[in-house]
């Protein structure tokens, strides 16, 4: 059910770039509902496409889809590859990576677990 409809375009547009990163999830219970909401909300704030692959899988999931992200069985210790394509791709990758490294800002949220 993954859709990869986009055509790779490598035009000399400084804003339109491909970007990828890898990051380990350290959050105690993985990516359950609340962290997933935080993640997809942030992803949706960028115009570029954002895709996620878990633990070396070659299935790329839509990073803006709560259903795909929640269904991906992301746990503590999972390695996420995140790639972005399009306008503000670099910024998107940086922001998402930082969010994961900050543990989805869970500590700020009443210190509860999902």
């Amino acid at each position: 059910m993954t859709s990869r409809l986009r055509i790779e375009k490598q035009e000399p547009d400084p804003l339109h770039v491909n970007c990828q990163t890898e990051v380990e999830v350290k959050h105690g219970v993985g990516l359950h509902a609340r962290p997933s909401v935080t993640f997809t909300r942030l992803a949706k704030s960028f115009p570029c496409s954002i895709e996620v692959a878990v633990n070396g899988s070659d299935v790329w999931l839509n990073g803006k889809s709560i259903i795909k992200i929640m269904g991906a069985r992301i746990r503590k210790g999972s390695i996420l590859r995140i790639r972005a394509d399009g306008i503000l791709a670099e910024e998107a990758i940086r922001a998402l990576k930082e969010l994961i490294e900050r543990n989805f800002d869970e500590e700020k949220k009443h210190g509860r677990t999902a």
């Binding site: 059910m1 859709s3 219970v29 359950h32 509902a33 609340r34 997933s36 909401v37 997809t40 909300r41 949706k44 839509n62 803006k64 889809s65 709560i66 259903i67 795909k68 929640m70 269904g71 949220k109 009443h110 509860r112 999902a114």
Partner: protein, 525 residues
Amino acid sequence: MAEPLRLKAKSASPGIASGPAFLAERPGASPAPRTAGGYGALEKAIDISIGELERLAEGADAESRDIIDFQIEVLRDPTIAEATGARMEEDQNVVFAWVATLDAYIAELEAADEEQMRARAVDILDIKNRVLGALAGTPIADFPPGSIFVGKDMEPSRFLAHDWSKGGGIALFAGSTAGHVALLARAKSVPMVVGTGRFSAVEGDPVSVDGNAGAVVLKAGGMLIPPLAPAQAPAGDTQTESGELRTADGVPILISININDPAEIDALDPATAGVGLMRSEFSVTSLADAANEERQLAIYRRVLEQAGDRPVIIRMLDIGGDKPLAGLEDLPALDSGLRGIRLLLARPEIARVQARALLRAAVFGKLSVMLPMVTFPDEVDRMRELFREEAEKLGRRALLHRMPPIGMMVEVPAAALMLDTFGSAAFFSFGTNDLTQYLAASTRDDIDADADKAAPAVLRLIAQAVKLTAGKPVSICGDMAGDPSHLPGLLAAGLRHFSVAPARRPAIRSAITGLNADGTKAAGE
């Protein structure tokens, strides 16, 4: 000043009512809300739902807000649009495409290993239904209780949404005594006349509807209308009745009632054998409701709990043909004029939702399911198979359910003649309105004129068919059963179970005590 104007009309439901006129805007001026108009309608319903959830989130505690945030995020999920769009391209109606997409996610979550994931299924179920509710749209504007509805025609959903307990009546310029609103009006004892021809009236002018004589009286100018007797409240059965009813020669007879919505079951008094016919299409009045399993479950459950240990027969949606379902115009099956079970089998996504709701409701009482407009035995077989499949799915999801007996309406002459070949039908119930129409090749408008002339043929057909029922339960739920003049013929045909509109029950009951089981008059009557 002008004299009161008395217009001749056809009586569609007996009784007399007076009240201020309510002028319905002309049909077309305000089209009934369409529940399915392509993806745009769904997008709008999703937006409405998000707005509702955002308002809910304000002032909610942190825990609830998490859940609401999650639900909003699901509604904004881009893959939902993709999956729903793909289903629509496969010729699914937008409402059912939405349901199928969300049901797939729900099933995925329910099958998850972790409790935390499984617990989210209900959140998605909730938004599925919230969007369906938004798709159903705002109900058609109601009119003041106690007023006389004046218009060209009336939508059944408008009749159902209105509070008739304050009296009032209906005068239609056109309309038909065989129309569905007429049927509802007779069931609820709302005086109604049709075919008055267009007349001018001023909103709020006093108007009287005389459903006994067939007339409308308009106050013209400042003249007072001659006082008419107030509308008779449906008396119900004030006289005490023993639970058991017998003919004069001692043969037990059952009388059940026909209902159209759960509220009518309040009329189910102890002397009633049960609900012989609940027409589900009057409770499930839009495509969005037809797609809403939980809503249907709640309706059926309420009826079954009210009925207690008495049997309730719920008829599956009899839609198509002249029976509307808002939004159904978008279903391709309708172009071919399909109705009843043929429409349900052609659009199984409708039937499957209703089957699940009925299977789940069955645990709350004595439910039987009746199939509308059956013509051939394989139609019953195929619907039973659909019920089996849905029961199996419910079983896998560990949802409580029970397989109800599945019987059929006998309202197509070909079925009536061949009843012995319907091995898989658990019971039979004669629907005389359609049986008469198809037997006499009447148009829907000519039914009344033809009904009396066609009655002997209908009675002969019923008598033959009853002999072919192989001991299975058989009843009659059509209008003929509510007319005392046909009782002798129906008794002679071998019928012992009559299901009638609640308002007709006292008359039928008293008529039966004066007749022998063979339909002859009891001595001394």
